[in-house]
């Protein structure tokens, strides 16, 4: 009996001890399985949701390491407009993104820019930019490369040349733009009262880093969405186009008309660009060291550049990568009868041997009237995209 009792006690002790161990072991497995419940206290900002407009792509180009947050966008807006992004505070040395990217010009310079005659920007040192500007419209849907030649693209082996974040860094450093350095800019922003708190809210630390400056500005730029033009309303069945605009729409989307849609989109591609690169017949000789060929190394990409979005194109300018045309009328004239053939011309330019699409004056007017339906005044006046009333140190 005694032995049996001892055995029972031993068994009991064994069972309690090992059962507990086994249970604990099992719980470890279980916890490993649901490790989302095991997160240490971490910083969390408020997620910023991008609403997808009617007909727009659902795939967004937002890097995994820079999720959109309300706080990040707010900070980015301040930085986008703050001339001290140059790292200097002398009135003659201020420069920010908004110095060139003007909201009223769809975040392009525009031919009427007060400091850049004809819309040809130059940097703080007076050095002109290599190409004229591209607008900042719906860039969160650009997956095929930023810049006229697409040199910043998501799967670039050069990890620091992939997205808008990198554009911010390059802009600050470029001789023909801010001509600054990232350390100087970081220290300047750190020294401005109010900014460290905004960085704390957006990124969890009041220590300003240039990486986070780039991230914040990129987040703000990704909110710049234009999707409420007259054509958008037509797509949604809210308004009707005029007869001239409809005639222009037919020209825009027919191969035997002006055939714009293959590169510039339409109802089925409301970005109004494929974001791809084409030699569109501007020249016969190609010496630009920053054309698409320099990136793709495909010989057929000599003289090829990004097809720009036609959204809000009416308020932009000058046009083409080198700004050779000041008005849309000049652009339409070019496509109508001034195309130049070369071995590199894109096959989609199938009217090349006629010199262009040979539009009549009425057709040119109709096409222009349709293109003007892509103007989105809400985009150009949206206060969320505009200059903040006060900068952080003015509050």
């Amino acid at each position: 009996m005694k032995m049996q009792h001892l055995k029972q006690i031993f068994t009991f002790r064994f069972s309690i001890k090992h059962g507990a161990l086994l249970l604990g072991f099992s719980m470890l497995f279980f916890n490993a399985c649901v490790d989302d419940n095991n997160i240490d206290e971490v910083f969390e900002a408020t997620p910023y949701q991008i609403e997808i407009p009617f007909g727009f792509p659902t795939k967004l180009n937002i890097p995994e390491n820079n999720p959109m947050t309300v706080e990040g966008v707010e900070l980015g807006r301040y930085l986008f407009y703050d001339g001290r992004l140059s790292g200097r505070n002398h009135p003659d040395s201020l420069m920010s993104c908004a110095t060139c990217h003007r909201q009223e010009r769809a975040f392009e310079a525009g031919v009427d820019h007060p400091d850049f005659p004809g819309g040809f920007p130059h940097g703080l040192t007076g050095l002109p930019t290599h190409h004229v500007m591209l607008p900042m419209i719906n860039l969160v849907w650009n997956h095929s490369g930023y810049g006229w030649n697409g040199f910043l693209y998501p799967n670039n082996p050069e990890e620091n040349l992939r997205n808008i974040e990198d554009f911010v860094r390059l802009t600050v450093m470029a001789k023909d733009e801010i001509d600054g350095d990232t350390l100087q800019t970081r220290e300047m922003i750190q020294s401005i009262p109010g900014y460290p708190e905004l960085f704390k809210k957006a990124f969890g630390s009041d220590k300003v880093t240039f990486v986070n400056i780039g991230k914040a500005i990129a987040q703000f730029v990704r909110t710049l969405i234009s999707a409420n033009s007259k054509f958008d309303k037509y797509m949604r069945g809210e308004v009707q186009l005029s007869q001239s605009e409809l005639n222009g729409y037919v020209l825009f989307t027919t191969e035997e008309g002006a055939d714009c849609f293959h590169c510039h989109g339409g109802f089925g591609n409301p970005l109004f660009t494929t974001h791809l690169f084409y030699n569109n017949g501007k020249d016969t000789e190609f010496t630009d060291p920053m054309d698409r060929f320099q990136i793709s190394k495909d010989p057929m990409d000599h003289g090829a550049y990004k097809a720009t979005t036609l959204r809000n194109i009416e308020v932009q300018g000058p046009y083409m990568h080198d700004g050779r045309f000041a008005t849309l009328e000049e652009v339409i004239d070019f496509y109508s009868h001034d195309l130049k053939d070369s071995p590199y011309i894109n096959p989609l330019m199938h009217h090349i041997n006629d010199g262009g699409i040979l539009l009549t004056p009425t057709e040119k007017e109709d096409l222009l009237n349709f293109i003007k339906t892509l103007r989105d005044d809400d985009f150009m006046t949206n206060p969320d995209f505009g200059k903040p009333g006060k900068f952080p140190d003015e509050k």
């Binding site: 099992s26 792509p57 729409y249 027919t254 191969e255 035997e256 096959p347 199938h350 041997n353």
Partner: protein, 267 residues
């Protein structure tokens, strides 16, 4: 005994919990098979040398090929007993783009029941029922949209390149297929639309076993768009055809010979 019971319960509970997240846990046996189509783009039975004016079509037009983009849909396996299996998940409309290597392989999402199949049929392009505008909102597929005015939906095919005319002048061509239009000869207004998609059929003797993964290579003979049964002469039709139903009809009838089967590979 009670204690033994407790231990047993704890052990079972522990193992249950532990195994609940074991990704290596044996899955139920899958008795179905899988199908992958691979597309090989050829001119004169050889891989295409893009952007090189080295080819001559059946009409004697020298030409080059720059890029090819097209849709394949409604892949169906026909059984020897008369039944058929439509691999019909909505996303099983496949886009092929010669600039995007990853699109050359079409891994069908639907599984296949084992059995003996004697043919495979697919649609070149997209059927009228499925070819709806804004069905694809993301690129590259969205870049294939076919204008509403011309019938809407999507291009079935974009074959772009250049050809040389009888005076040695080089012209671009955009051999694009999609919904065709009927124009009133007087007013030039569109009075109707024509569906130009077509079915391609391959005869096989496919014995598919459970767990098989079948790879079906398909040769895409680009030169056949211009050759068989109709000789397509660029000097007659010009370089752009999406508003020329007669030319698209020629393309449609020639298209049956563009796709040819190669040797099947199974695992």
């Amino acid at each position: 005994m009670k204690k033994l019971k407790s231990i047993t319960i704890l052990l079972i509970a522990g193992f249950l919990l532990a195994s609940s997240c074991n990704k290596d846990n044996p899955q139920p046996v899958d008795n179905t098979a899988r199908l992958t189509l691979s597309f090989y783009h050829l001119v004169d039975s050889l891989p295409i040398d893009f952007d090189t004016m080295k080819y001559v079509n059946a009409a004697g037009n020298p030409y080059l090929v720059s890029e090819i983009q097209y849709f394949i849909s409604d892949v169906t396996l026909h059984n020897t007993d008369g039944t058929y299996h439509l691999l019909d998940a909505w996303e099983d409309i496949h886009y092929v783009d010669t600039d995007l290597y990853e699109t050359f392989k079409y891994v069908l999402k639907d599984s296949i029941l084992p059995g003996t199949y004697d043919s495979l049929i697919f649609t070149f392009g997209i059927s009228e029922e499925k070819n709806q505008s804004l069905m694809f909102v993301n690129p590259p597929e969205s870049n294939m949209f076919w204008p509403e005015y011309l019938g809407g939906g999507y291009h079935y095919l974009k074959l772009n390149g250049k050809w040389k005319d009888t005076e040695d002048i080089i012209h671009p061509y955009n051999f694009h297929m999609g919904i065709g239009q009927i124009y009133d000869p007087e007013s030039d207004e569109i009075t109707g639309f024509v569906q130009n998609y077509f079915k391609v059929k391959f005869h096989y003797n496919l014995e598919i076993e459970p767990g098989d993964t079948i790879f079906i290579p398909i040769d895409v003979h680009v030169d056949q768009w211009f050759e068989n049964p109709h000789v397509f002469d660029f000097n007659v039709w010009g370089g752009d055809i999406m508003q020329k139903q007669d030319a698209m009809q020629v393309a449609k009838e020639n298209g049956h010979n563009v796709f040819q089967k190669s040797m099947i590979i199974g695992d």
